[in-house]
Symmetry: C2
Amino acid sequence: MSDMIDTLRHDEKMTPKQIEILKAAIELISEKGYYNTSTSEIAERAGVAEGTIFRHYRTKKDLLIKIVKPVITDFSASFFAEQFVHQVFREKYGHFEDLLYAFIKNRFEFAQSNVPLIKILLQELAFHPEIQTAYKRAFSEKVYPALNQAIDFYKQKGELRDLPNETIIRMVVPSVLGFMMTRFILKPDQNWDDEAEIKQTITVIMGGVGGT
Amino acid sequence: MSDMIDTLRHDEKMTPKQIEILKAAIELISEKGYYNTSTSEIAERAGVAEGTIFRHYRTKKDLLIKIVKPVITDFSASFFAEQFVHQVFREKYGHFEDLLYAFIKNRFEFAQSNVPLIKILLQELAFHPEIQTAYKRAFSEKVYPALNQAIDFYKQKGELRDLPNETIIRMVVPSVLGFMMTRFILKPDQNWDDEAEIKQTITVIMGGVGGT
DNA sequence: TGAGTATGTGAGTGATTACTCACTATATTA
DNA sequence: TAATATAGTGAGTAATCACTCACATACTCA
C-alpha cells in the first residue's frame, strides 16, 4: 500500500489527509472504475469531508490524472533510463535472454507493488484522451527508442531473427504482459512459482512453441 | 453495422425501434463506457422515447448483458463447436500451423466485424460480475477443453514442445490477442497487410524470436 | 367491427452527482 | 501576540441519473 503512494510521490509535500484521499481513490477506482466511484464515497473512505477533496484537486478528473500520470512515467521511464540502455552496450547483458530476464524481473516487481494502479491505468486508458496522450508520448519517446536500440544490437550479434523490430516488439510485449495479467489480475490466488514461470516465458519467446 | 446486430440475434423477433436501441447502445457504450453512457443519450441517438428502452429491457444493466452475452457465446462457442474440433482429428489440419492459421483467420474475421462489441466486452469485463461469470464458464466449458484436446494431439505428433498445456495456451493466446488489439484498437488506421501479419505471427509463435 | 394485447410515449420522481462557498481550525511568520 | 495563509468542513445547489406510469397508438385475431 505504501508502495502505491511512493509511486505517486509528487515533489510537493502532501498532508496526511491528502494521502488518505489518494489511497481511498486508488482503492475504489481500481475496484469499481472511475465513473462508478463517487467523490462522496472517496471522502467517506478517506475519513474526510467531501470539500477537502476539491481543496486539493480541482475536479474529479484532475484527481484521476494525478493518480495515473506518475504510473505512466514510472513504468516507461524508470527502467528505460540511462542505467538500463547503457548497460546493454556495456555488455552487462551478454545475451538477449539475459536482458529479457532483467527486463521481465524488473517490470514484474513493479507490477507486483502496484496492481491497483496498473488496473486503473488499463481500465481508464480507453476512455480518457488525456491518459492516452500521456501514454503514447511516454511509449514513443522512452520505451520504443530504447527497445529499438536494444533489438538492433542483438540482431547484429545474431541473437535475434531478422524480423522487423515492430514485429519483435509485438510478439515480446504481449507475451510478457499476458503473463503478468494472468498472474496478477486473472488468477492472483493460484499458487505461482514465479521464477519458473518467468524462465518458461523467456524460453518460449526465444524458441517458440514448435517441436523439434 | 448489420454484422453487430447479426451477432446479437436473439430468438425473439425484435421491433425496428428495439434494433435502433441496440445499435445506439453499442455505439455509445463502446465509445464512452457503460457508466458514462446515460439511458437518455441512448434514447436520443436511437430516435426513441426513453420509456421505450425500459419497455424492452428491465434495467440499464439488463441492456448491457443482452448486448454482451451473445458476444461471449459466439466468440467461444461457434469456432470450438464440433465442426472445428472434429476436423482436427480428421486430419483436416495436418500441421499445428495449419490449425493455428485457420484459428487466427476465423477469429480475425469475427473481430473485424465486431470491433465495438469486443471493445465493450473487454472494457466492462472488469466491473460486472455477471459478465465475468459468463466468460469464465464459456472459457472453461468450451474454449479450454477444445484447446486441450488439440494441443495433446499435436504434442503426440511431435509438432509441439513438451510444455504444460497451460503454458502453451498462455503463450499463444496473448500473441494472437495482442496482434488483434494492435490491429483493430490501437492502430486501426495504419496500413496493414493482414495476411502477412498473420503468417508472421504464426512463424514467431512456432519458432520464437531467437536467432540461429 | 370490436376487444384485447403489444408497442411506444414523455412528463414526472426521488436519489445521486460533482462541485461551491461561507465558515472554522490550525500552522506560519512578523 | 497579531496577522496572514493554508487546510479542513459540511450544508447547499443545479444538473443529471435510472426508472415509472398513465396514456396513446398500432397490431392481432375472433
